[in-house]
Symmetry: C2
Subunit: 313 residues, 2 copies
């Protein structure tokens, strides 16, 4: 229970912010935890959940005397937050974020932040499809990766402290430059979400198959996509707007590959289809071996359904 | 433990066949269960697992005296099986299958089957990404749908017996015509699998993001697709070849919608993106309410990981 910072301020208390709050408490990482969020209802809810030590709607007031400030808001709002807190930050404070895109966050936040604070952009690569302060849990970051994208000239001691913080949260920290982060996340996270949103939309529009049929028979594959497509729309709108170039690059490649697969189906090229469907198995095996996935069949839905009978209707 | 059939023969003993074997035993649905499969290794494995009462490689010999024959093979092999068993079938026997496409199965099997048996095509809409006799489990069909696509003139008594069989396996039975089945499954199952195979292939081909990065950061969305993309390649090659028209129709719609979404991203149309990302949430809620999905966040991977610590590396 070593305290790492005298005071930590969290701006934004959704899935990520509220999970950070919970793990900070569990690990005893600070003497004082301030929670700040714009919406009164969310702030009240955070208070009811006892996520912090005090609750402040004005983010400038919230960051005063904080040694670590973590901004977890939709990426489109990060510039505004940086502008508002800029003059209230304590010299020497570490300012970081949890946004899913990094180049855009750097462009939005850096111009506002004073030279005497340590701005180190970050991204804990973890999440569920749920959102809001009730959705968070302290174990969200356990065995997950946290990517930091320090800018040239970043203070090594500050970087080490932030790394140590995420490690105490259960994560393994990796550093890379913001451009590369955005490219990696475009393929592992942004494209999958966009594809999932898209296929669920396509199914919703069909006139020859009813919505009730899609729902009834969803266990044959479709439902796996609905988890991602249930994610927070504001967050994902902002991701699309703020990582546009990398996403368009990945979408282009995906569409090209899909056309090739479509052609193999049209022309009955069974050998090509079999080859394409074979090589993808090894990737899943590697993900399971890397501890990033459960190897329970069907995501272990059975075990979950047995543990929580209310999940089955 | 009411026996429903004196003798049941299962042809094919992969995920579906071996699950049917297990539920037949659990429910005591037959006096004698014969297992038949072409590959010696698989047949030996079925014997080791004690899935039936006897094990016969020749499927014609296996179906002799059977009152119910269930063919669970890749759909491309169903015509060959029908041809081989045709002269050995007992008059009055019910012959059904478990294939994921129905028009093609009807076209392949019907010409070979004698008039004095009841051929009722079927499709238990259930599965996991795993395959082979070890992957099956008796609960696979619990709370799932089984679709039967009876042909014109089907004997009502035989249809009722087959319905009752699947109900004893835990499923709810629905009937529809084969054309409609193939359209419904194209959107709820075939398209999702094809998309999943495709995105995993796209990620595998990237030169600017390493395979190790895709694996490390897969928890942010990508891994959800890898489950479907780990499914049996032979089964899915056959599905693509045998439900071509419906799949091409759904692929066309999906690609059209994706182009529209891509355009919204390129031109920064935040309102359109937000709208598209909002409406998809309600479908997931409906699927959970229909008992076809767990509402545990992240598919309940956490609960599974806690129950089976070896799943986390």
């Amino acid at each position: 229970m070593d305290q790492m910072f005298d005071k930590i301020t969290l701006i934004g208390v959704g899935l990520i912010g509220s999970s950070v709050a919970r793990v900070i408490r569990r690990e005893g990482l600070t003497g004082h935890l301030t929670i700040s969020t714009r919406t009164k209802e969310t702030l009240d809810r955070a208070r009811q959940l006892a996520l912090g030590d005090d609750y402040v709607s004005d983010c400038a007031e919230a960051v005063r005397d904080a040694d670590l400030v973590i901004v977890s808001v939709p990426v489109g709002a990060s510039g505004m937050v940086a502008e508002q807190i800029s003059t209230a930050l304590k010299p020497g404070a570490i300012v970081t974020d949890a946004g899913s895109t990094k180049l855009s966050v750097v462009k939005q936040m850096q111009p506002h932040l004073p030279d005497n604070v340590h701005f180190i952009p970050g991204h804990p690569v973890a999440g569920t499809e749920q959102s809001g302060p009730d959705a968070g849990f302290a174990e969200l970051f356990t065995n997950r990766w946290c990517i930091l994208t320090p800018l040239p000239g970043t203070d090594e001691a500050a970087l080490s402290r932030l790394k140590a913080f995420w490690e105490r949260c259960g994560s393994t920290v990796e550093t890379m430059d913001p451009e590369h982060h955005d490219m990696v996340l475009a393929i592992v996270s942004h494209l999958p979400h966009i594809i999932a949103y898209n296929i669920v939309g396509t199914a919703d529009d069909l006139e020859m198959v009813t919505k009730s049929e899609v729902i009834k028979y969803s266990a044959s594959g479709f439902r796996d996509f609905t988890r991602l497509a249930a994610s927070d729309p504001t967050m994902w709108r902002d991701v699309c707007l703020h990582n546009r170039d990398a996403i368009l690059e990945m979408l282009g490649r995906f569409a090209e590959d899909l056309s090739s697969l479509q052609r193999a189906i049209r022309w009955g090229d069974g050998e090509k289809l079999h080859d394409m469907f074979t090589r993808t198995r090894t990737i899943r095996r590697s993900i399971i071996e890397a501890g990033q996935e459960t190897d329970a069949p069907d995501f272990g839905r059975q075990a979950v359904a047995q543990a929580e009978p209310e999940a089955e209707g």
